[in-house]
Amino acid sequence: MIKRSFIKLTGPRLLCDQVEPDPKKPETIPIPPRLVLLLHEPLDSTRETLIKKGDTVKRGERLFLYKESTEYAVSPVSGTITSIASYTGDFGTIATYFIVERDEKDTPSNGFAEIADTPNLKSADSFLRSLPGAPPLSRFTDPDCKINTLVIEGTDSDLMSTTRQYLLATSKEEIKRGIQILRQMTGVAKIAITVPENASDDLSAEGVQVFKISQVYPKALPQMIMQDHLEIIPVPGATCEDQGVTFMSIEAVISLAKAYAQKEPVFEKVLTVIAKDGTRHRVKAVIGTPLHRIFKQFKLQTNERDRIIVGGPMMGHAAYTLYHPVGPDTDTVQIQDRDAIPYVSDYPCINCGKCVRVCPANVPVNLLVRYLEADLYEEAADNFDLQSCIECGLCSYVCTARIPLFQYIQLGKHQLIELETEANNA
């Protein structure tokens, strides 16, 4: 993926992909016999779990790890739990995965059906958190956040991905219904939707503001949208929610509409799968489907040392196993050939300044990285704007010395949180 253009006076201009004009319907992946469900809560080996190996679950049933847990996963099938184990993510974050072995009976759970008549924030949050698109419903119920603006993302924030654009173009009806439900449910004052700049804006009739987003990366990132369209300057170290704005994927809106219409949660997620050679497959797969099932369907070969990228090339993450499941927020999956993987180095920063030119947040990356390398995180935050970074990854993309800058930055932010908790505990 050598992207350098010959003439480069102004630095790179990366354009987000656009959905094809007349998109095909997605191909459906058969529900696999065994599904992997991820739950964002660490497994404590010293405690007894609520759900145990061998338990049976119904379709749509919520799985809680412990009695007082608030996080839950929803099983898209009925079947038996065959294993529960830990899953390690980025920066040592620990999640838990369940493996559900599907049975043929397909018994539904009627938990949601009972409350589905009157859309209500609290009940929605307690059943629909892991709908495709992962609606951030808890943000509305959180008393610490006073959300007054909801931005629906009809644009894909990373490169290569076109899933949201596809849904925006093809599910107008559901979107309108979903927005109605959301407005009624949350009572939020302002709802906006982001669309690619060349899309037609026939959604404005709904009393929804339409933000036309430039195709240039990273204009579709939440903080960029806040700055460019809401005229709210993101405060370093604060989340968008802290400033009263929440972002929601368009797929979440559609799933909400469908769930209330059929009085049952939906489990089928749309995603774009990109092969090594760049061919795209639009896919519909049940949440929990291991990636190898999808790859098998399209006869996609993966080799030792290839890279499996969940998400886009700038902000996604690399999976270390083909059993990594489709999650509620998995919009894109791509396979990168091992020969196309750019190497990183432990060279020092040579001060070429490309990162500073490219950074949309004006972070002095060239100096910041020196302090991060020296483990001086607090100084990095105080004097070199660590917290202003919006995590677009462009600095790493251009770094002449091939320093994994973005990784250093994420690590720095993580360490800052650790330092803060330490200080608070002391």
């Binding site: 992207k3 480069k8 300057i233 370093p236 700038m314 690399a318 020092p348 091939r402 973005f406």
Partner: protein, 322 residues
């Protein structure tokens, strides 16, 4: 359980624009070649000898330092080669071998390696090397004496030396066009102004140097020289004369924009470049040295950390949580 492949796991981003330190330095060397080759054609085998010795010894010094400090071998990044080439280009073709040796030693070791290698150096290494040679063996840089044995088809006088000695009358001896085309006496790689500009434009277009620095440096030269001439045309030479003589152009396109010792923010880059140009002319017109480029560049390197604090506010900096 079937066998799992091991996949590459690392952090985003997963793409890269393809630049490396090696390509950067290769391009700098490439851009310097027109002027260097011109010098070889003009001054013959001795010039080739000086350049070859400079490049090779520069790399050897770095290799030796890598060994002694028990660090990874870094010469494959061509950084020392580029430093060596620039040192060589600033020497006259008749420079004795030991001058070349000492020049690259100081440039590479004192200018760069002791600061932890590439990226750490606060001063331009090649300029450190040349300025130490200049204050030690001033006579070597007396280009008239150095090139006494050459027969040229043009005025065989070093323009800046002539300017210092004979005053502004010396300007009449030279035509700007001739100077730009390299028909002048000087060091191997700096006589061919047009070639240096060509290389500079190449580097700018390809994004390998920061154009703001080069252009403001040239602007600083032209404007300051113009102002001096406005005040007293009988005493001071014209802007273009200054531009096409001495190390000016090499300074603007190859020395001042050296990555590690120059600023990266817009305002800072413009102050930095302009200061370099202004100081160069000040030294030539008011100070002791015939050509002040290397000291002017050391001086702007020195102020770089301070002025590079002038930078645009980072996103959200200073905003209160609304």
């Amino acid at each position: 359980m079937h066998k799992q492949n091991k996949y590459t796991v690392s952090h985003a981003p997963f793409w890269h624009d393809g630049d490396t330190v090696t390509t950067l330095n290769q391009n700098i060397i490439l851009a310097a070649l027109p002027a260097a080759i011109f010098g070889i054609l003009k001054f013959g085998a001795p010039a080739l000898g000086v350049l070859a010795l400079a490049v090779s010894t520069a790399m050897l010094w770095e290799l030796a330092f890598n060994f002694i400090s028990k660090r990874e071998i870094t010469i494959a990044d061509y950084d020392s080669a580029a430093i060596g080439l620039l040192v060589g280009m600033m020497l006259p073709a008749t420079a004795p071998w030991w001058i070349v040796l000492i020049g690259t030693l100081i440039a590479v070791v004192m200018g760069k390696m002791i600061y932890g290698g590439i990226g750490g150096n606060p001063f331009n290494p090649a300029v450190v090397g040349i300025s130490v040679l200049l204050v030690s063996w001033n006579a070597i840089f007396d280009f008239d004496a150095a090139l006494l044995n050459y027969e040229f088809g043009f005025t065989a006088l070093a323009p800046l030396g002539a300017l210092k000695h004979q005053g502004v009358a010396a300007m009449d001896l030279f035509q700007i066009k001739e100077l730009a085309m390299g028909n002048q006496v000087g060091s191997i790689g700096t006589v061919f102004g047009a070639g240096i500009i060509l290389g500079g434009i190449y580097l700018i277009l390809r994004g390998y140097i920061r154009w703001e620095i080069s252009l403001s440096y040239v602007a600083g030269i032209l404007i300051t020289a113009f102002l001096f001439r406005l005040v007293n045309p009988d005493l001071y030479a014209s802007p273009l004369f200054h531009l096409f003589t001495g190390y000016t152009l090499l300074g603007a396109f190859f020395l001042a924009p050296e990555n590690s010792s120059s600023p990266v923010n817009l305002t800072a880059m413009i102050i930095y470049g302009a200061m370099g140009g202004v100081m160069t002319i000040l030294i030539r017109n008011v100070g002791s040295y015939a050509d002040g480029t290397v000291f002017a560049i050391l001086l702007i390197n020195l102020i770089n950390p301070l002025i590079d604090r002038i930078r645009p506010q980072a996103l959200g900096k200073g905003v209160n949580n609304a």
